[in-house]
């Protein structure tokens, strides 16, 4: 029990406190590619703190607008507790499995869409509509990839999937599943070429157009946290090597892997233009079929 609370605390710290630092590194890299100097590494923390202190503007008395950012961050934190970050068992393994994780990630997106829809702004409605279409095509990919693991391990518990993967070495099915998850991480994190629901130049931030001050800070923080969560998911569940079973070493290894993945994501983000939503949907449908291939491999082995 105390162990679970301990690693739970660790996960929360990684997701909340370390995520802005990763963003700082990303900004440095992006600036390097743009041949700029870039802001200091601490800049994302300053941004968040400044946003938290700004005036809280609301356009409607609807309670959803006020509570959505808080609930969104809370759901992301729970998603962070449902996946391992350097350990085999996630801290909340007694309370939920892979499906619960998928649904909490979805719930975070739902809360954003609800806040956008409740803000009564037409740009926000367009953003919400696009966000939902992205979700419709992206969520199946994550689900199929994780189900591939579940079929291999005969269990929906993440710890069992990780243990199976460690015991059976790299397999084709898990490789394909990992690849498909990597291909949609960009969309989940709202990065180019898939930042279609926000699309600053087209629909002025879309879902976030009416979200200012502390509300935007919490949404932004949730997105930063998502970076750590998805990178961890990818490198703990699909590429769990090397695992030493020494806690501090594993956590450190995980961090290095997370950093590498985040750098990849950043480079793709910098060098790609934004796609239109219909192009994105078609692209994701292809990835769904790729992910299904992985599932077939898992079934053939079993």
């Amino acid at each position: 029990m105390s162990y679970a609370i301990g690693i739970g605390f660790l996960n929360i710290c990684l997701v909340l406190l370390l995520s802005p630092f990763l963003e700082g590194i990303i900004r440095k890299i992006r600036a390097f590619i743009h041949s700029r100097k870039g802001p200091p590494l601490k800049q994302p923390y300053y941004d968040l703190l400044k946003l938290l202190g700004k005036e809280n503007l609301v356009v409607s008395p609807n309670f959803l607008i006020r509570w959505a950012p808080i609930v969104c961050l809370a759901t992301i934190l729970i998603a962070g507790l449902l996946i391992p970050m350097g350990t085999i068992r996630p801290p909340l393994s007694v309370a939920g499995d892979v499906i619960v994780f998928i649904y909490f990630i979805t719930l975070a997106a739902v809360v954003i869409m609800m806040a956008a829809a409740a803000s009564e702004n037409p740009y926000a409605h367009i953003g919400a509509s696009r966000e939902m279409m992205m979700l419709l095509t992206v969520e199946p990919v994550i689900a199929i990839a994780l189900i591939t693991g579940a079929i291999n391990a005969h269990s929906f518990r993440i710890s069992d999937i990780v243990m199976w993967n460690l015991a059976h070495g790299p397999t084709v099915s898990m490789g394909i599943a990992g690849l498909s998850v990597f291909l949609i991480v960009q969309a989940q994190l709202g990065k180019l070429p898939f930042d279609i629901p926000e699309a600053d130049q087209e629909i002025m931030g879309g879902v976030f157009i009416e979200m200012s001050g502390p509300k935007y800070a919490l949404f932004k923080w949730a997105f930063l946290a998502k970076q750590v969560i998805f990178a961890s998911l990818l490198c703990q569940v699909f590429i769990p090597w090397p695992t030493t079973f020494i806690l501090w070493l594993d956590v450190l290894v995980n961090l290095v892997k997370v950093l590498i993945i985040v750098i990849f994501v950043c480079i793709i983000d910098v060098v790609n233009p934004r796609l239109r939503i219909d192009q994105a949907i078609k692209y994701f449908f292809i990835i769904i079929f790729v992910a299904l291939m992985g599932l077939v491999f898992a079934l053939v082995q079993a």
């Binding site: 809280n56 356009v59 950012p69 934190l77 499995d97 609800m114 740009y123 367009i126 579940a150 502390p214």
Partner: protein, 683 residues
């Protein structure tokens, strides 16, 4: 007084209610309240029966209430746990829908309540009868009772042509299904000469042991009948027209309860009557496939709907598809793996209860919108959450439930369905494919309800609504919504309460010794579910624990939110510096998900479809020969000629009317003389 008498008493209360509401139908308020009161007392009685059955086991009548000896049919009642479950659903949803209708029916100012309240109560009686009898003949009697009463409720607003058409479609298609069931029952009857369930079970055993293919024919006919009632595509095309046509309280019962009667029949025939065999394995698979087809097609079609009640009606087909998928898997795995079968059956029945709660609630919400705005078109409404906060909040809970968001009830049953289809399907990959469809469609459901909520409750209020004074609906309409919403949350957070009840329910289908122990299925976890599917396949979900952690995280996020001590200020919507009226820039229901909807657009020749559901299937035009048409018009060849003939004869007499009094007097005298002569001649 024993339990059966309590049940019969409840039905008698309902019958009395029918009579009194029929008498007082011109006093609208009194009539509605009497309907509610009789429903309330009946619900107490029925609820008592259900609880008694769960505590002390099944109850039955010792001797038949009524017998038709020539065909071997006798009216026996037997209430086991399955019946008790359905009785609970019927009385619970029926009660709140009746209370809702008290004020709601004032929406229909012209229509007489004589065509509403008595039939609503008759409808309930029909459903109670269906789940309590143990005799196929009386099963059909009550089944027809239910169908006819619901048909009359569907065409309640008979002034509108579209409703009559919908009612006719419903009537026709359900009866095609019912005819299939009649044939199946008669085939069984030829063997047993009795309609009793136990005898029919014996017939199934004989057929199976003799290896005849006729058992498949019988099961096919029953499947068509029950699938039609449960609105499984392609048999259930009556539903999207019939449910929006009915008044909203009735739509709630139709969707929440009546279509579940098809599922009741399915469970009775495919598990209780048909012994576990290869036939159940095959038919379970077929049921699951049909369920998946209908959940896929119907939910996609729901995505393009812009009429609130029609949208919900399509989701009814979709959600029943989930139930069919899960129960079908349960039936198919009976001969292979009792463990997987047990979890699948529990998941299916759980989803049935959940669907009864959230779909009834959603129909009541749509009814409240209709009551206040007078329209069902999602393009014409918006911004109602400020004006109708209770309706908006309950609709949000129901939408999250039906989309299967965690800690609401839809999540638990969907979670169980995903577990069982995917882990259970490792040996039979067909079910994994079906499970993936179910998982994907869960997101489509979410999309559809985001659209529903965003357009009806959250967008800007359109100008067309500003002329009406929209306020929250009356208290009698609020209470049912709040109660059902509370039920959605309760079933989501405390599955530990529901699971043992559902386990006994599954056991009551003649499987009590066959299914594994409850502790073996859901290994003792405090307030959570530790599913154990055998062969090391296991998984966990603990909603109560998740909820506590969720609260802690929310507090943490709230503290972060408050860290900067920012001030709250109300501002206008920002249109990027442009000046717009709300009406100009409203994002309508039609605009949602256009690129996504375009992918699933189908056009085959002149038949087109916005989604996977062909909307303009031409009805075959039958040329009726002229003489039949003439023969049917009795006025034309009998009544009018007769009347004209009589009138012509009396016209002849009109010449005697000359208008001179003396002539009339002369006629009188002649008449009198004639009369006297006749009298003398006779004497």
């Amino acid at each position: 007084m024993n339990t059966i008498q309590v049940l019969i008493g409840s039905v008698l209360i309902l019958l009395t209610g029918v009579a009194i509401t029929a008498i007082f139908s011109s006093y609208r308020k009194i009539c509605s309240w009497i309907a509610f009161l009789s429903m309330l007392f009946a619900a107490i009685g029925i609820g008592y029966t259900a609880v008694f059955v769960y505590l002390h086991g099944p109850v039955a009548t010792t001797q038949p209430i009524f017998t038709i000896s020539t065909i071997g049919a006798s009216l026996n009642l037997r209430i086991d746990e399955l019946s008790a479950l359905f009785l609970t659903v019927i009385s619970f949803i029926g009660l709140w829908a009746t209370l809702y209708s008290v004020d709601y029916m004032s929406f229909y100012k012209k229509e007489s309540l004589l065509r509403f309240s008595p039939f609503l109560l008759l409808f309930i009686i029909g459903m109670v009868g269906v789940v309590c009898v143990t005799d196929m003949f009386f099963f059909f009697v009550f089944w027809e009772f239910m169908t006819l009463a619901s048909y009359l409720l569907v065409i309640f607003e008979k002034e509108r042509k579209v409703n009559l058409k919908a009612g006719f479609k419903y009537f026709l298609l359900t009866h095609i299904g019912t005819v299939c069931m009649y044939i199946a029952a008669i085939v069984l009857w030829t063997q047993s000469k009795s309609f009793d369930f136990n005898e029919l079970r014996g017939v199934f055993e004989t057929y199976l042991s003799s290896g005849l293919g006729i058992v498949h024919v019988v099961l096919l006919l029953f499947f068509v009948g029950f699938a039609t009632k449960a609105a499984i595509l392609p048999f259930g095309i009556w539903l999207p027209d019939a449910h929006p046509a009915a008044p909203s309280g009735v739509s709630a019962i139709l969707s929440g309860v009546m279509i579940k009667m098809g599922i009741y029949g399915l469970l009775r025939v495919f598990i209780f009557l048909c012994p576990i065999s290869h036939a159940t394995y095959i038919w379970g698979g077929i049921i699951a496939i049909f369920g998946t087809i209908s959940l896929f097609v119907a939910t996609f079609t729901a995505l393009i709907q812009e009429d609130s009640k029609r949208l919900l009606a399509f989701h009814s087909i979709g959600q029943v598809g989930y139930i069919f998928l899960s129960l079908g898997m349960g039936i198919a795995f009976l001969p292979i793996s009792p463990v997987i079968s047990a979890v699948a059956l529990i998941a299916g029945v759980y989803h049935l209860i959940n669907h009864a709660c959230f779909k009834s609630l959603l129909f009541l919400n749509a009814g409240s919108i209709l009551y206040q705005t007078g329209t069902r078109d999602l393009n014409k409404i918006g911004g109602l959450s400020k004006l109708m906060p209770v309706t908006a909040a309950t609709a949000l809970i129901a939408s999250l439930s039906i989309s299967g968001m965690p800690v609401f009830n839809g999540f638990i049953s969907k979670w169980l369905i995903f577990q069982v289809t995917i882990l259970g399907g490792i040996s039979h990959p067909l079910y994994i494919i079906l499970g993936l469809f179910a998982l994907f469609i869960s997101a489509v459901t979410l999309a559809s309800f985001i659209k529903f909520m965003a357009t009806s409750f959250w967008a800007k209020t359109p100008d067309s609504l500003k002329t009406r004074t929209i306020k929250e609906v009356p208290l009698t309409m609020q209470i049912p919504q709040v109660v059902l919403a509370a039920m959605c949350i309760f079933l989501g957070v405390f599955p530990v309460v529901a699971i043992p009840i559902l386990y006994t329910t599954a056991g009551s289908l003649g499987l009590s010794g066959y299914l594994p122990q409850l502790d073996a299925l859901f290994r003792g976890s405090y307030l959570g579910l530790n599913t154990n599917l055998g062969e090391g396949m296991a998984t966990t979900f603990n909603p109560f624990f998740i909820l506590i952690i969720m609260m802690i995280c929310t507090v943490l996020a709230y503290l972060i939110f408050k860290m900067g001590k920012s001030e709250l200020r109300q501002v206008e919507t920002w249109y990027c510096g442009e000046e717009h009226t709300a009406e100009e820039v409203r994002y309508k229901a039609h605009s949602f998900y256009v690129p996504f909807k375009q992918i699933f657009r189908i056009r085959i020749g002149k038949y087109w479809s916005e989604s996977l559901y062909l909307t303009n299937i031409p009805w075959p035009k039958i040329k009726v020969p002229g003489f039949i048409k003439k023969a049917l018009q009795i006025d034309r060849w009998f009544y009018y000629p007769l009347v004209n003939f009589v009138i012509k004869i009396f016209d002849r007499f009109s010449i005697t009317h000359v208008g001179v009094p003396q002539v009339y007097t002369l006629w009188l005298i002649i008449g009198m003389v004639l009369a006297i002569i006749v009298l003398f001649a006779l004497s």
